[in-house]
Symmetry: C2
């Protein structure tokens, strides 16, 4: 089907997906570019393809809308001028699974969340639990920074205290991250079934969450400085698995 009008009803609907409330309502979000489409296709989550008129889609099995460059630009969140996009269905995230879990307490920056999801996938942390005040996982910048990892992970938004209680009962060891009353990452005993909790960019993990952990850890630094939360998460995930 071809669409040339910027005021077409479909176009208006797709533009609305820039806002969380409309994404949540339809349980759909927009992805841009070949790499993300390939990952969404493999995950079976593509609803329809939006493509620049005259170009050929590698995915013929989905409904396809041929549109003008102006329409693509209007729908797009990025400025990179992609010729192919897709409407994706929300993944059907399951209950907690896997032996390694990342938990995020109030991470706000979309790039940080996306990067942490990408790292989690690379180090086999199959489940990521987000506090209710963390940034939305279907935010376009999050989706782009994941490089497709969000299609392979199990991402759950829930109350962290309830999650910790449940995970402790299931035998997971809970590691918090904190600069106070904590063991260094090199000294901590490593438990195979574990949860790693990372905190908000400015405040870190909340005190009432830290009080529920089995062990808090810190990353040894030479100067008393701070690390970006996605970098800190990467160092912890790598070290807890390779040390």
């Amino acid at each position: 089907m071809e669409i040339t009008s910027l005021t077409n009803a479909k176009v208006k609907q797709w533009v609305k997906y820039k806002e969380k409330k409309h994404r949540d309502q339809d349980k759909k979000f927009i992805i841009e570019g070949e790499h993300l489409l390939e990952e969404a296709h493999k995950a079976g989550l593509i609803d329809c393809i939006i493509i620049e008129k005259g170009k050929t889609s590698p995915y013929v099995e989905y409904p396809q809308y041929e549109v003008t460059k102006e329409i693509l630009k209007k729908i797009a969140n990025s400025v990179s001028g992609n010729w192919i996009m897709a409407v994706c269905n929300y993944p059907n995230y399951q209950d907690i699974k896997g032996n390694k879990i990342v938990m995020l307490d109030g991470v706000q920056d979309p790039g940080n969340l996306g990067t942490i999801l990408r790292t989690a996938h690379s180090f086999s942390y199959h489940t990521v639990i987000l506090s209710k005040d963390s940034v939305d996982v279907f935010n376009d910048k999050v989706v782009r920074s994941t490089q497709g990892a969000l299609f392979h992970l199990n991402v759950i938004r829930m109350d962290l205290k309830e999650a910790i209680k449940d995970l402790k009962e299931k035998g997971y060891h809970i590691y918090g991250t904190s600069l106070h009353e904590a063991k260094s990452l090199q000294e901590v005993s490593i438990e195979e079934n574990h949860v790693l909790i990372m905190g908000n960019e400015g405040q870190g993990v909340r005190e009432d969450i830290l009080a529920l952990t089995d062990q808090n850890i810190y990353i040894e630094m030479d100067t008393f400085e701070s690390l970006n939360v996605a970098v800190a998460a990467g160092i912890c995930m790598y070290t807890l698995n390779k040390r």
Copy 2:
């Protein structure tokens, strides 16, 4: 001095610093917010203060311009609405110093460069060498992501091949990062005086640079996935110092 006109010559000059060519011409750049100002002040690099009319600057030793909110907004790169900014002089970066060096081959994303500088400072990599095609270190997003680390580091932009030749002669061990013909980060022998080379977001370190290294290393991952370059840099810097 008070400025109320958006077309004032000073305001026009400050707005120009959004562009690299004007920054390079005057060797000055704009910083925003209390934390960065404090770091720039400690480093002795503040040229003048730009402050919202009616607010009190903690830095009375510098020339001060009281301006309207509209002017601050026009000068600002961020959307966060800071009440205080400063014009900063370029640091006077010295020759290569320190026993640990990070080298970046074509890193393009400002957030990645800034985050790598922040990590480098935390792990005592005192010098960062950028290839000539890397993103500008005084780009506002780079400056913000460093969280002030750029005022403590030595950042040099030069031809990487020349830099490697020079550093080898000085006895530094050169680690490249690569997925091919490389040793795992856990297996590699650790040399105290070393250079860690990280590459472009899409292509990694160029082949002709990898050919000049003493040893190439890779980060062990469970799935054949990729890591964000700032996360990978963090894992390498941490592990080369703590393993």
